[in-house]
Amino acid sequence: MTGSGTAGLTGRTRWVLVSAAAVLLFGGAAIFGIGAFADYQGQQAQSSEVVTAEAGSAGIAAVAGSDADAPRIVFRNTALGEGYGVVAAVPLTDPSGPRVLSDVSCDRVYATNTYEMCLRVNRGVVTTFTADLLDARGALVKSWPLPGIPSRTRISADSELVSFSAFITGETYASVGFAINTQIAEVDGADSGTLEDFALTVAGSRVTAADRNIWGVTFTSDPNVFYATADSGGRTWLVQGDRAARTLVAVRDGVECPSVSPDGTHLAYKKVVSTTPTTTWTVAVLDLATNEEVVLPEPSNVDDQVEWLDDSTVIYGVLRADDSGDSDVWAAPRDGSSAPRLLIEHAWSPAVIR
């Protein structure tokens, strides 16, 4: 006899109950799914919740509007409605004004006047991830496969070097312990391979722990030298990298996702303020000459690689609190002299083209 709880039911009754449960459960799920799909369709059909200017053809040249060399901020548009997730731009002189939308979709973007780095989740039944280098017209120049979800990307100021970081999200990534992969590549040449293969030294001794991760590259004016974040055993360091020697040397503790200022004198980064219940970060700026750190008066959790608006102002994305996948870009003076101000609504992953 079967278990006591269901004893006494005839075979037919059991089948009827199972069938009824199947119809009820899948019917319910299907109705929910159709509703969500209809909502999504409606949302897509709606015009964007922000003012958009006349859309160009493609690429960052298009989002430059009529003047291809005009200084501007390129970012990922996160305004709900038409154009969600595409690369957009606003003039540097009017960041809160109408934005120009391109037809390039990216999850993480960085741009210079020559190129655009676009990290993508290629959705489908077979979902893959790529780092795509596009020229100013939006044509694909080069593409690298990523091992998982896009994280950070940068292009050097002279547009010769690119870097990209992605989480390793194969099924068993979690038990493996290498959670992130970062690469540097020359636009016209060789890849440096994964930065995990670079020799990492902290306080003079070599770190070979299996759990080390390197991410968040920022280039300097010297094409051989870059900064990045290294992490092992729960500790995080700012490291200075040497591409030729293939070395990473820790120069400071507790620094993540560094970003060198345009004049090369300062380094902005995110810094842990609390680890309970989950890690939260704020923005700090280091004077490279004096080694003095200023923590900015930013009340929100900032999990982004900072960008420089100019030599004295940093900008960064802050996620909205409602878990909607929407965010805003904020600006703050690097000396912490005043509170951050909202720069671009519904935007993420900003890059300044001067």
């Binding site: 709880g5 979800i149 493996v176 999990d303």
Partner: protein, 427 residues
């Protein structure tokens, strides 16, 4: 797919194993349990496939933090696994202990619908894994009790095939939803809950609470292991020399099983094909596993389960060599995935069948739990230890060292288990 609740009637339909043919049908209970596992795997794998994307793009969290929980639950899961097996034997209610395990996992899914944030996700994943730990051994004991001892390997093969089909469908279903509704995470959570609940309903209504002590499933040909003497659970039942040696061998093999993730990372670093398809390599392994599970289970029944179990680790050895040798084409990657799938098909269900075979009726769940716990803990140690080798010596060298150790371990295991390696007798 045919599922019958009238298990006893089914079993009498099974052609007599005395004919020496292995054309016997697999019990309807085993198929029902396979369907339950399939639905549950669709449920859990659809969520875990999109979890990294959800955490980073919606909750804005670093997935790095997620790795910590994963290591933690593996340890806890090993402990509850033993408890689940023990409880199933002591209460003689393997079905309801398994039901409790499946139920806990299904309930955890409700958490995804009502809460957001990292804490909720962490709790849901932990509770889900706890449920998985509890249910595995009682469920495998039910499979044992519903099968003729001669066909045990095949029964486990059928179950693991259905289970792996679920693991393959889940992620595809989830990504299909995201393809149509890019922000459709809540739809995936609802679908996941529906699958989990249906699995629970099928388990509750269509699977009988059979125990190996019940005479209904003990045929005259079943042999001494399934005695009709109805032994109660005894700790010393787990002291069978065959089981002891099996646990030692399974433990040694487990210590040399470094985790697919590492193999995938070696492939990814060497081959542009593997790099491009890295997030999907596990699908290839799963496909090979589900295709080979039944044939290898049948082979194990005929040729000898221990032989298949030991030789199956030769496939793992070949996968290591294949990953480490400087052959970087697409063919090497595919070959490596096929070998990994073969290894799982020859080891996962076969080990459960062996543990059941070496444990007297009444202690089956505990015996299976012991074997699975040994493997789980050994593999956890292997992954941690291998991580250090990886950086101390480099990836290829590290893989080749483990391969060399495995090449020694395989004949050593054969030597240790030699007394039991004979081909199964056909009475």
């Amino acid at each position: 797919m045919y599922i019958s609740f009238s298990d006893r009637a089914r079993l009498t339909d099974v052609p007599s194993p005395t004919t020496g043919k292995t054309g016997a049908k697999v019990s309807a209970t085993v198929i029902a349990l396979g369907v339950v596992s399939m639905l549950t795997d669709i449920s859990s794998e659809s969520v875990s496939a999109i979890l990294p994307l959800y955490l980073t793009s919606v909750l804005g969290l670093s997935t790095i933090a997620f790795g910590f929980i994963d290591g933690l639950y593996q340890g806890v899961s090993a402990v509850v696994r033993i408890a689940g097996g023990y409880a199933a034997d002591r209460t003689e209610q393997p079905k309801w202990i398994a039901f409790f395990g499946y139920g806990v996992s299904a309930l955890a899914r409700v958490g995804l619908l009502v809460g957001t944030g990292f804490g909720v996700i962490a709790a849901v994943v932990t509770v889900d894994r706890l449920g998985k730990g509890v249910r595995t051994a009682p469920r495998d004991a039910l499979i044992t009790a519903s099968s003729l001892p001669e066909n045990l390997g095949r029964s486990f093969g059928v179950h693991r095939m259905l289970d792996t089909i679920g693991a393959a469908i889940g992620p595809l279903l989830a990504f299909l939803v995201l393809f149509f509704i890019p922000s459709g995470y809540s739809v995936i959570f609802v679908i996941s809950l529906a699958f989990a609940l249906l699995g629970l309903v099928i388990l509750g209504l269509l699977v009988p609470n059979v125990s190996r002590r019940a005479p209904a499933v003990v045929t005259a040909e079943a042999g001494p292991a399934a005695s009709v003497a109805r032994p109660r659970f005894r700790w010393r039942h787990l002291n069978d020399p065959r089981l002891r040696r099996l646990l030692v061998v399974a433990g040694i093999f487990g210590l040399l099983t470094v985790g697919d993730g590492f193999i995938y990372l070696v492939l990814q670093a060497r081959s542009s094909f593997a790099a491009a398809w890295f997030p999907l390599l596990y699908v290839g392994t799963n496909l090979a596993f589900l295709v080979c599970a039944v044939p290898l289970g049948r082979l194990a029944d005929r040729f000898g389960r221990l032989r298949v179990f030991i030789i199956g680790h030769g496939a793992l050895l070949a996968a290591y060599v294949c990953a480490a040798l400087p052959t970087t084409g697409a063919l090497a990657t595919v070959g490596c995935l096929v070998l990994l799938g073969l290894f799982y098909a020859a080891s996962d269900g076969v080990l459960a069948a062996l543990a059941a075979q070496y444990t007297p009726a009444g202690s089956t769940a505990s015996g299976i739990a012991a074997a699975q716990t040994v493997v789980a803990i050994a593999r956890l140690v292997a992954s941690t230890g291998f991580g250090f080798l990886w950086f101390a010596l480099g990836r290829e060298t590290a893989v080749l060292i483990v391969a060399a150790l495995l090449a020694v371990a395989i004949p050593a295991a054969a030597l240790l288990l030699r007394p039991y390696l004979a081909r199964p007798r056909v009475s």
